[in-house]
């Protein structure tokens, strides 16, 4: 079962209209993510990384193509059904953390549970806090946290619903090098426990530390040689 596919995108397209011009932010992307795998999507700014993350994170709808989360085809689903898929399968981590500043670490982490109408499992929550390295900080209002701890809170919030895939858009973009390493270690230990992680980044160093690198260029997946980010 090591090679079980948790996410599969086929010919995924996303077009934006900018006035009369059509922007092909994603132009036929094929992507498979397996269980327990860390994949990085790398590409220069404007290549379509965020668009791709939002689509596979079920935050946005594709213009065309298919997207399967587990065994469910989600491309044609409406918002309310997408929410259910998202709650059960996906954790999302943002570059700018997107925490609610006046709530505490713990309250921020509990938020997805409230929306999913799930009860809070004290023991599990403690394990999670320990895992992401926030033990003892659960009562602090997040606006007083360092960038690293903010992102740990963001990760814990993404994990609290036991997702199958963790989707992260430039998760270390706002963090210092040292903290970046710690977050990467955290991702690695999470994936060892079965979580699939997809990281969008333009940071080559971070990408190289993952198992698989996918190059994105002008909304398409390209071989390494064709990427602008040569190395």
């Amino acid at each position: 079962m090591q090679d079980k596919i948790v996410l599969e995108a086929a010919n995924l397209k996303k077009y934006y209209h900018r006035g009369s011009e059509i922007v092909k932010a994603l132009d036929g992307v094929e992507l498979k993510i397996k269980e327990s795998e860390i994949v990085s999507i790398i590409g220069p700014s404007g290549s379509g990384k965020t668009t791709l993350m939002n689509l596979i994170g079920c935050l946005d709808k594709a213009s065309a193509g298919s997207l399967k989360i587990g065994d469910t085809e989600v491309a044609s689903l409406e918002e309310n059904d997408l929410i259910k898929i998202r709650r059960e399968n996906i954790g999302f981590v943002f570059q700018r953390f997107y925490l609610i500043p006046t709530l505490t670490v713990r309250e921020n982490i509990e938020l997805p549970l409230i929306f999913a109408k799930k009860s809070i499992n004290e023991k599990k929550l403690l394990v999670l806090l320990e895992e992401v390295g926030l033990k003892g900080k659960e009562r602090i209002q997040v606006k007083y946290l360092s960038g690293g701890d903010k992102q740990r809170t963001g990760i814990a919030r993404a994990l609290v619903n036991d997702p199958k895939i963790l989707i992260t858009d430039e998760p270390t973009g706002k963090l210092e090098t040292e903290v970046k390493g710690q977050i990467l270690e955290l991702f690695k230990s999470l994936s060892e426990k079965g979580l699939s992680i997809c990281i969008a980044t333009h940071d080559l160093e971070l990408a190289q530390a993952t198992q698989r690198i996918i190059h994105l260029q002008d909304g398409k997946i390209v071989p390494r040689e064709k990427s602008d980010l040569y190395y």
Binding site: L59, N80, Q95, T102, L111, P112, F115, A158
Partner: protein, 398 residues
């Protein structure tokens, strides 16, 4: 942590704004409660005042009906006089059950109200007065020793103030400002909770002598055997040109008419206050929705449904309105006395009882009214918030 806590924390973030909005709602509720309470209270107080008068019909000198109506209830009973002969003429009317002649005189007392000065009311009465007014009883002392004795019976409140100011009570002598005669206090009436509690009562003949208006009355109080004989009775008195017959139900009607026309104005004020409060609530919530666009997007991204967001914003509105309702009720209960004072100053006639009748039912009515308003005014902002798309919101933050 539940939705409620989340909503509460959101409001706490914008303390001064939330507080002002709650204040606006509270004022609207307080105004509504006071106005409705005043309405009920005034009507009740007036009815009880009129009932306590004991007589159904009052005969006075001709004059303006509005003026007469308020004067009658203030106990002034018309400062124009009628001839005592008229009393002798109608006393044998077959429809009359009880009848009593009255002479009311106002005397200026420069020492009244701690030296500010004011009028005291002196009523010349006969024994039949007691028969007409079932709730007028002697608390202490006794009735006048003769028809024209220099004696006085004090209304309950008047007796108290004289006791306090002059340390005088039954058996002591008092004087009328500006007159030579001294009067012996022979009795004190029980409390009637009407304006007459503040009056002096003398034998009719004594009053006529002291005020030098012999053979004159200001009014005649009458109780009919049957109230439905009123019209026939009035018609029989019609030929006497100098008098008018005022029925107490007419007095009540006249005053209620005055009050009712004021009521429409007052109600418009209440509705404006409520309207302004609603706009305030919608504005506050809508502003906080727009300010939190990104936050709402995030909540949607981490699993909040449209309904969740709708609920959250709606609960915020309800919290504002509920708190406003609670504070408004408290203001109404404690501010009611102040309103009552104000009303007594501006109304043409303020009855003796409590003017403001704030009942639990009224408070409940206003409270639920405000909640319903909250439910309605929360709809639009909640709808706006719920229909925000997470993706655009998150993009805008990049």
């Amino acid at each position: 942590m539940k939705f409620f806590v989340l909503a509460y924390k959101n409001l706490k973030r914008r303390k001064s704004r939330s507080f002002l909005t709650i204040g606006g709602v509270a004022v609207a509720v307080a105004v509504l409660v006071c106005l409705l309470g005043f309405n009920a209270g005034y009507q009740e107080a007036l009815t009880s005042d009129v009932d306590k008068m004991g007589y159904q019909v009052l005969v006075t000198a001709k004059g303006c009906p509005y003026e007469a109506a308020t004067r009658v209830l203030k106990g002034e009973a018309g400062l124009k006089f009628i001839d005592e002969d008229i009393y002798k003429q109608i006393i044998s009317d077959p429809d009359i059950d009880k009848i009593t002649p009255l002479l009311v005189q106002l005397v200026y007392d420069p020492e009244k109200s701690d030296g500010k000065g004011g009028f005291d009311s002196y009523s010349g009465i006969e024994r039949s007065y007691m028969e007409l007014k079932p709730n007028v009883k002697l608390k202490s002392g006794e009735w006048f020793s003769s028809d024209d004795a220099d004696e006085v019976i004090l209304g309950y409140d008047k007796a108290e103030s004289i006791q306090k100011k002059l340390q005088k009570t039954v058996g002591d002598k008092i004087s009328i400002p500006g007159e030579d005669t001294n009067l012996v206090i022979v009795g004190i009436f029980e409390k009637t909770a009407s304006l007459e509690d503040g009056d002096f009562f003398l034998p009719l003949k004594t009053a006529q002598r002291i005020f030098e208006i012999e053979g004159k009355l200001t009014s005649i109080g009458i109780k009919l055997k049957q109230i439905d004989r009123l019209q026939a009775f009035e018609e029989r008195l019609y030929p006497i040109a100098s008098i008018q017959v005022i029925s107490m139900s007419q007095v009540k009607g006249t005053i209620l008419n005055l009050v009712n026309s004021a009521k429409i104005l007052i109600m418009s004020v209440a509705f404006i206050a409520i309207f302004v409060a609603i706009i305030g609530v919608i504005n506050t919530i809508l502003m906080s929705v727009f300010e939190r666009t990104q936050e709402i997007g995030i909540m949607k991204a981490i699993g909040a449904s449209k309904l969740d967001i709708f609920k959250l914003i709606w609960i915020e509105t309800l919290i504002i309105c509920t708190l406003g309702g609670i504070f408004g009720s408290i203001i109404a209960i404690f501010g009611g006395n102040f309103t009552e004072l104000l009303v007594r100053k501006v109304m043409p006639y303020a009855p003796g009882g409590r003017l403001l009748l704030i009942t639990p039912e009224l408070l409940l009515f206003s409270f639920f009214g405000v909640i319903i308003i909250g439910i309605i005014s929360g709809l639009y902002p909640a709808f706006r918030a719920a229909s925000m798309r997470p993706i655009e919101v998150i993009r805008s933050g990049e």
